[in-house]
Symmetry: C2
């Protein structure tokens, strides 16, 4: 049962789709609130929330729910901390913040969906509001959940149901089916900021192939472009780009270029000139195009929210599609702003004041702060405008939609340009609803062991919000990796839909062939390819049923009090549980089994050992090079034992069925060609069964 | 067995004491190396290390040891990551770095002692070199330990023995007995940057007493001073300071003021004027006093390494001792430099270049970097000089000794001014050897759950290096705490010798009475006071025997393969093991018992429950408000059941003896008046025994 509450006159963000309501879920649209909202008159909502003004004299609203001690709060998608979000304050405010620290309040996405699961309650809420929303989940007061929206215009959706999964399904039916990438995008990808030349790309391809390390994609970060201009390729460093794309494809490797949000201000650059001519860029209050500094230096931001500009920008992807490209990642689309022209000018003017003064401490820190605050400055986000649904609106009011609409632009263009074909698309910034158009990666993380754990925890939280195609930068983006960190991370990464090794300029290079134990890396990645039939099948089933690919244990074992507190094990699909090692120098870990399971230990894809373990607590030895997973009772894990060097080479038909059969196990296997879109064709599904001997 | 190797002509740092060698440990001083060092001629060292030049054309030396896969590396004192230091690269280079991230290489202290424990090897090394030393412990290559010293002049001590504890004892006999604080310093301390007025201090005292929360000290951070001038008190905000000190003492509370490294440049300020007159400040190459910007604005650094200046600076503590102060913390003594006058001038000159230019990205980041790199800049550390042992020496060559000598200055002054009395003294920066003069706190940490774990791991590592009196800022210094974080942290903090709640300006206030569940906080802190007889006794025994107060499990259970990998449980003293909860929202945790133990669950100091648990793995429920500990077989835990509001009130004589007696248990109890120095008096020791019924 979904109920929709209308406060004031909300913006239509596009998160909710009109055909979102089907099946047996109820849906009640309640009367809008004129003036002061009064929850006592709002059927259902007053049961969970009291409503107070957000602050004296403010227009904002605060929804307050008193939590019981045992309540668990799920959701909020891309955020730090646990699967259980209690104990911190989160802000939905898409931010280019590579420091994912425990006290970080906002990352790249804005995912305003959460669920409260208690002994006698199970409800979810989705706040459809495109500006900043604050979720205080027991931070100020341990037992209080407070959601603050800065103005009184929003849609508030309330979901009720028996289980969290039911609530997730309700959200997803409201907001539409999750994006489905091409099958090759489930292969292993290698990235670096940046492979600077075609020769470097060729070397990466060659060294993977020569060493027998499976690989399906190589990513092109910003330096493939000519002076960071979107939809250009630097001809000197990447001559005859189309041929390179072709050559890689013959090796089974897809090149995936990055597209940035800002369009370089440069005379003669057609995207810039067209945008200016047609007036498609965001403008300041007085009608000038807003100028920010990002990778290309000065840029204008296309008004992604303006339908015409949006279509125009989407059409530009054709330039690369025409050269054989079939996958993209959209970046810097919070949008990140290193500086704005006007603010920088102001800073320099102010700096002059400091120069001749005898700096005291306060002035010194003011001076330092002034410079460090230049980037992603709030004031800048308040200084430019969109035309959204025909109305001029200040950016900060719709900030969280920018990445969404950039990705929608691309997706709609693909639909028009190559309707028969799936194109890989994922974004850094996002808002619920964008999951229909693309996946996301988990942003610029760090080579920290705690970020493996963050990866584990973020995966189900994002799945809840509809983002199924996702994964972290394996090995870590910022900071220097180590061989063991990368290895352990890949051992979890083989279970994430997006499996990409990516690292930043200036950090230690981390292509797996750069380390001593290359053989172990090869075995781990080969195992991914062996698991692909299962991973792909589970992904497709989750996407097509508005379900989740990765789940917290508690979703499957709701009565198990211990399972509720497990924050470092996941159910991946319906058949297996994983319990990754994320502590340096650990040679094993504790694993909680909510029921009897069969542990499979993979020394390699084919050298494996099966052990049945009883329900309860186990300490499992897991040497650095090994992967273990756990098959649930009466479940089957299909495996392509021969694996392959690319997804194309994997045999999705002749499968080995690992199973844990007590009486009878079954598995519904989904398999299609991986490129077309007749997803619903029943021929893609078949059922495997095993009986106890 | 300790062997000393001399490379080149090392500086005498003062780390090693002449009377450091006693008992049955051997000690061999080997011939100095003239010119190229050749380990094949160095008895013993070549067995473990090969020696290579640190880099082409460089003077540095690199000592390389090939590690076996199962080797564990202990030591390195104050650093990030595990008790087992493998898998990262650490730099001994005292740094004011409040971001204790996983990839941080240097913190506040320089503790060049490590041990390698393998199946058939057990050796330790202490690199007595006062500049930067790099310890690559399997970072570049997983199986390689490489120690790099930038020039060829150093003492390299090699310890061999049967067990890590033996090596620790060898180091400690070499470097001297650990500092012993007054007994009240084992009470609970409350700190904040800063309590701004005497009234605020009184309020903190009152609110603890009114709410029955034990408290022994209130810390005065920088704002108690007049314009941040060392050895002054702001008379407006702290009128009649001596009376305040007295008033607090009557409540059983000691005021502990901070002392900073830099002396404010201000005419009429006697410390400054004397220092100038006598020439006691560090100078630049051309003989001017070096000017840095720190809290007071412009400061000069006393030349702590110059014996005469050192004594002079130490003597200044008398100003506060005379007002009744009996404890201090030395801060900013890496030394931290916000800016140097000369560098800041340079930056402003360079900034002018940027102003009128059309900034491209590179220039923008250069500009931003130039400003953010102003603080703690390497170049500044190369721009001033000490007079050390009569010779002029550039600061960076002896950088790691600054905090050491500042603390030595204070300690020697106390010895002269109040020889009969123990004075509390701990420092932020340190070097091995300084542990004779004071403790350290673990620096400016963050309100992160992972920093509870860091606290757990750093404690034994610091103990190894001689720093017994230590603890972290409980609740976290930087970033905002939460009620549960503070509570869980205190539940571990009650076992650390230094137990202080401290937080930074601008962060959430975290005195325990500010939170809802004050009762739980009171119970936890009361438990500390109940444990004091044991904590103090174990501390004293560790200090007097060159032993460790907190140990990794593996030190007591060397044959237990599982115990070797435990990184989140500690032995505290000889009788108990602790297993703190450091995960948010966890209601319990796994605990590994290397042998049968008795678990004691404290709901309060007196409401407790005892359960005997078998050797092996256990999942233990530990609700947020409860503390569990584990008594080892045939051991006794003495408890002062009545606790007290301050250490003075604790009855150290009439004890409850908790025990886990299978046949017979015994405990050697150390107790003295806690203020005098006749540590070795046998009357302070008695033995408790219990027999099985």
């Amino acid at each position: 049962m979904v109920r929709k509450y209308v406060f004031g006159t909300p913006l239509e963000t596009g998160a909710v789709v009109s055909n979102g309501l089907k099946g047996e879920n109820g849906f009640a649209e309640l009367a809008g609130t004129e003036g002061k909202a009064d929850l006592t008159e709002m059927t259902g909502l007053g049961k969970y929330f009291s409503l107070i003004p957000a602050g004296e004299g403010e227009e904002g609203l605060r929804f307050v729910h008193r939590m019981d001690r045992e309540d668990i709060v799920y959701g909020l998608g891309e955020n730090v901390r646990g699967i259980n979000k209690r104990g911190w304050i989160y802000e939905s405010c898409c931010s280019d913040n590579p420091n994912h620290r425990e006290d970080t309040r906002a990352l790249y996405g804005a995912h305003n969906f959460l669920m409260v699961k208690g002994k006698n309650k199970n409800f979810g809420i989705f706040v459809d509001y495109p500006g900043k929303v604050v979720f205080d989940v027991g931070y100020s007061k341990m037992q209080e959940l407070a959601i603050t929206v800065p103005d009184g215009n929003l849609y508030f959706y309330l979901m009720e149901g028996e289980t969290p999964e039911e609530l997730v399904k309700e959200l997803r039916q409201l907001t539409g089916r999750s994006y489905i990438p091409p099958k090759w995008a489930f292969g292993y990808g290698q990235s670096r900021w940046s492979y600077m030349t075609a020769e470097e790309v060729r070397e990466v391809a060659r060294l993977h192939r020569e060493n027998g390390i499976p690989l399906d994609s190589i990513y092109l970060d910003i330096d493939y472009m000519e002076r960071y201009k979107d939809f250009t390729v630097d001809e000197e460093r990447f001559p005859d780009f189309g041929k390179l794309v072709e050559e890689m494809k013959e090796m089974g490797i897809h090149l995936v270029p990055i597209i940035d949000a800002g369009v370089k201000v440069e005379d003669g650059y057609s995207v810039y000139e067209e945008g200016v001519e047609k007036g498609y860029f965001c403008r300041t209050q007085d009608g000038e195009f807003f100028t920010a500094g990002v990778w290309p230096g000065k840029v204008h931001f296309p008004d992604m929210l303006n339908e015409e500009a949006n279509r125009w920008f989407g059409g530009k992807y054709k330039v690369l599609l025409d050269q054989g490209i079939d996958g993209f990642w959209n970046d810097m689309n919070e949008p990140a702003i290193f500086y704005s022209e006007s603010h920088l000018k102001e800073v320099f003017e102010n700096l002059a004041d400091y120069k001749d003064k005898n700096l005291d401490l306060q002035s010194f820190f003011r001076f330092k702060g002034m410079v460090s605050d230049i980037s992603n400055n709030e004031k800048d986000y308040e200084s430019f405008y969109h035309v959204f649904h025909g109305e001029k609106i200040r950016h900060d009011k719709v900030h969280n939609l920018f990445g969404f609409y950039m990705t929608k632009a691309a997706s709609q263009a693909f639909e028009e340009l190559c309707p028969e074909k799936r194109v890989l698309m994922y974004s850094r910034s996002s808002y619920i609803g964008m999951h229909r158009y693309g996946g996301i990666w988990m942003g610029d993380n760090l080579s920290w062991w705690s970020h493996i754990l963050l990866n584990i925890r973020m995966l189900p939280s994002l799945n809840m919000c509809g983002f199924l195609y996702t994964g972290a930068d394996l090995g870590g983006f910022g900071a220097d990796t180590t061989e063991d960190l990368l290895m352990r991370w890949l051992e979890f990464g083989i279970f994430t839909p997006l499996m990409r090794n990516h690292s930043a300029l200036g950090t230690r290079q981390q292509e797996v062939y750069r380390f001593e134990n290359q053989e172990a890396f090869r075995h781990i990645i080969e195992l991914r390819y062996g698991l692909l039939p299962y991973i792909y099948s589970e992904y497709m089933k989750a996407a097509l049923s508005d379900g989740m690919y990765a789940k917290p244990l508690a979703f499957a074992y709701p009565e198990d009090e211990r399972a509720k507190r497990v924050e470092d094990q996941l159910l991946i699909g319906e058949s297996i549980m994983v319990a990754p090692v994320y502590e340096q120098n650990a040679t094993g870990r504790y694993v909680y089994l909510p029921e009897k399971m069969k542990m499979v230990r993979f020394r390699t894809l084919t050298d494996r050992e099966e052990t049945v373990l009883e329900q309860g607590d186990h300490y499992i030895e897991i040497p650095l090079e090994e992967v273990v997973l756990f098959i649930r009772p009466e479940h089957i894990l299909p495996l392509a034992e021969k694996g392959g060097q690319s997804v194309e080479e994997v045999d999705f038909e002749n499968l080995t069925l690992l199973d844990f059969t007590l009486e009878e196990s079954s598995y519904e296997y989904y398999s299609d060609d991986g490129y077309g879109k007749d997803f619903e064709n029943p021929a893609h599904r078949k059922v495997f069964r095993k009986k106890a001997k």
